[in-house]
């Protein structure tokens, strides 16, 4: 059965490639569930990538790098939160502006790191026994700690969202903020917190790219992953568990891309795959039938003002 190792390797690659998407999507799900659309994910991811790289290089500790990345992206997210929530600005334009800034700042900051190797990257630590289970073993248990963390984080975030008091506050704020406000829930605080949290996770996603996945700094290394996250958020119907499915599906497309290349297919045509796939995924997620059963949070993208008529 000589094809098994190939399959195992492909599945492993799929999970690795899907992990930054998973982190980004989990964060965006929380932001959108609270009613705020964050289109700045691409910018936050790439800022996370460059900060993680630089800090890891200087402190020789990748975990500090990841932490710094999360905080940097979170700071950007707070700017978006301020514009969208307090100033009630147009959320599409605000997110776009932040993405542009993020891309530019990361290019600036990262210039000195181009071509620099990273000695203290996060390397895979296989989990004994489990990692030898055929097919499933290499798929899930031969990764670096950030992947394991994401596998644990997704169900945790799902549980938190649907079965805790704060979770229902978040969901209510996204569906009907006036109702939540009338019962004393602090709409602004929840939205700020969720957007900030989304930023933190975007930063981790970017950090993963530069400190574990590549590991390296390349200008523009996110290559649109932040936008794919937006599509994935809709596809996952704002559920952290379904985000797992979507992210790994995408990871699979990326893995496929690299495996088809040696067969002579043009790398550029293959590179189109994830983006085309995103459009398809978006269509599937948006189609009317699905909308009727699970829709976007009703108040998504609409700023809230106490006392204003709907």
């Amino acid at each position: 059965m000589s094809w098994i190792p190939a399959v195992e390797s492909a599945l492993n690659a799929a999970v690795r490639a899907g992990t930054p998407l998973l982190y980004g999507t989990l964060g965006e799900i929380y932001a959108e569930r609270s009613g705020v659309m964050n289109l700045g994910v691409e910018g936050m991811m790439i800022v996370g990538a460059v900060v993680a790289f630089g800090v890891t290089l200087h402190t020789q500790n990748p975990w500090i790098g990841v932490l710094a990345a999360a905080l940097a992206a979170g700071a950007l997210a707070l700017i978006h939160a301020f514009l969208s929530i307090t100033l009630r600005a147009n959320q599409v334009v605000s997110g776009l502006a932040l993405t542009m800034m993020g891309l530019g700042i990361s290019a600036l900051l990262g210039k000195r790191y181009i071509g620099t190797p990273l000695p203290n990257s996060l390397s895979p630590t296989p989990i004994p026994i489990l990692c030898d289970v055929p097919i499933v073993g290499p798929m899930f248990f031969r990764h670096d700690p950030l992947v394991y963390a994401s596998l644990v984080l997704a169900p945790l975030l799902w549980f938190f969202l649907f079965y805790t008091k704060v979770g229902i506050n978040i969901r209510s704020v996204g569906e009907n903020p006036a109702a939540a406000d009338a019962l004393g829930v602090n709409v602004y605080l929840i939205r700020y917190a969720c957007v900030f949290f989304g930023g933190l996770l975007s930063g981790v996603a970017g950090a993963y790219l530069s400190v574990a996945y590549a590991p390296a700094w390349i200008e523009g290394m996110t290559a649109g992953k932040g936008w794919i996250v937006i599509g994935l958020t809709i596809f996952s119907m704002w559920s952290p568990l379904r985000a797992l499915l979507g992210s790994y599906l995408f990871g699979g497309v990326t893995a496929l891309q690299y495996r088809l290349q040696p067969l002579g297919v043009s790398p550029n045509l293959l590179a189109m795959l994830p983006y085309t796939f995103t459009i398809i995924v978006l269509l599937v997620g948006t189609s009317e039938r699905i909308r009727k059963r699970v829709g976007a949070p009703s108040a998504l993208g609409i700023p809230y003002v106490r006392g204003e008529k709907p």
């Binding site: 805790t164 979770g167 229902i168 209510s172 009907n176 602090n186």
Partner: protein, 533 residues
Amino acid sequence: MGGRLFGRSPKTRLVSGRPRKGEVVVEMRGITKRFPGVLANDHVDFEVRAGEVHALLGENGAGKTTLMNVLYGIYQPDEGEIYVRGRKVKIRSPRDAIKLGIGMVHQHFMLVSPHTVAENIALGLSTAKFFLPLREVERKISELSKKYGLRVDPKARIWQLSTGEQQRVEILKALYRGANILILDEPTSVLTPGEIKELFATLRRMAEEGRAIVFITHKLDEVMAVSDRVTVLRKGRVVATLETSKTNKRELARLMVGREVLFQLEKSPARIGGVVLEVRNLQALNDKGLLALKGVSFKVHEGEIFGIAGVAGNGQRELIEVITGLRRAVKGKVVLLGEDVTNRTPRELIDRGVCHIPEERIRTGLVPDMSVAENLILKSYRRPPFSRGPLLNYSEIRRYAEKLVSEYDVMTPSVDTPAKLLSGGNIQRLILARETSGKPRLIVAAHPTYGLDVGATEYIRRLLLKFRDGGAAILLVSEDLEEVLSLSDRIAVMFEGEFMGVVDADDVDVEEIGLMMAGVRRMEVVENVGDKG
């Protein structure tokens, strides 16, 4: 905007001990609240006592809801003070109000539609622990439910409930938090006459227990039926506070409006002509894909007003949308002047003389950022003289706009003013002007006077009668039963997508209509009420 980033509020201590009956539990002194361009509350003094039902009466726009929103912490007063149980308090947000034992049932329900009853009631509970204690909440809801006769299934999702049941959830929300002061804002607009009776009984029971109830309304019958005292607001000021037993409808009406009010509109006898609109066995789905219109058939003639009464949410919206081309019919026909127009586009219907006075006047009817003139041609921009081929003719458009503005008394600085700056009543006039200035054959009016003051309401009703006398056919859908009764020549009652019965306005009986609104068909009603033939 003004205020803090996070909306944190200072701690407020609860006053302990049950209030004695008659004790003043809430006193508002000199409350003043301004919005850009309008003084909503002008040095208002208002107090409520334990054990009473206190009605807050006034027309739309008099400031009643604003005043109670101040009490509930949704607005901050510009001037004035609030005392709860004798202690001066600052209510900075609903959280403070809830801590003080104040609960509010809003006119537009504040419910999260996809969540369950229990999840809605549990929302924001400060006593709840980290993990949602849903089972405990459900149990307590059942208890309260039984105690006050507010039957509702804690596990049901809000979108599955009728409006009456949703209102019960709202009341339970307040009771669950131990509200001793309960504010209800226009609670009866979504209830059938039978449900209204039940509500009043529940309120009286709560008052007996020593709670204080504030009942906001603009309906005089209700004031007389359920309240102990009544405070009348007019244009933001308190006009009088009276004991209900010592006053009557006529006096209250005069206080409310400031002049003698005619209760009956003069309506000349109908001169009915040919059939303009015929609807045959019409069926349509609602937004959720469920059947909302289950086979409705009727005819509307020239010179008549055909009114459809019923609590909102029973298919009226879907019916209007099918007739005006905004929704697909899945079965049945719509025939206009002999022509089958089922599922034609709105434009084709407009071209055939169908006018639509929309329900949510700002949302559907108006482009707020565009000028008055540009809004006035929303339906007719494609026809000469407003456009020649692809080009718009602005001088013609402006001339037309100026003519309409003066004819319909729309108060605006100029026809180039952005429409969003107009007041509610003027916006409705603008829409009316736009809709009715052609020679409409069929006018479809959906809740046309909702939220308007007495002056605007009278104007619109007179206008509808004028068109009816001029030979137009009018389909009137309204939640306001009084409006339907006073304007229509024939009345149908709609319940769950079907007509329960059609009656002549001359032999109407409110009790009969009330039963139909609650789902009892006319034949059964006649049997129940006794032989009325």
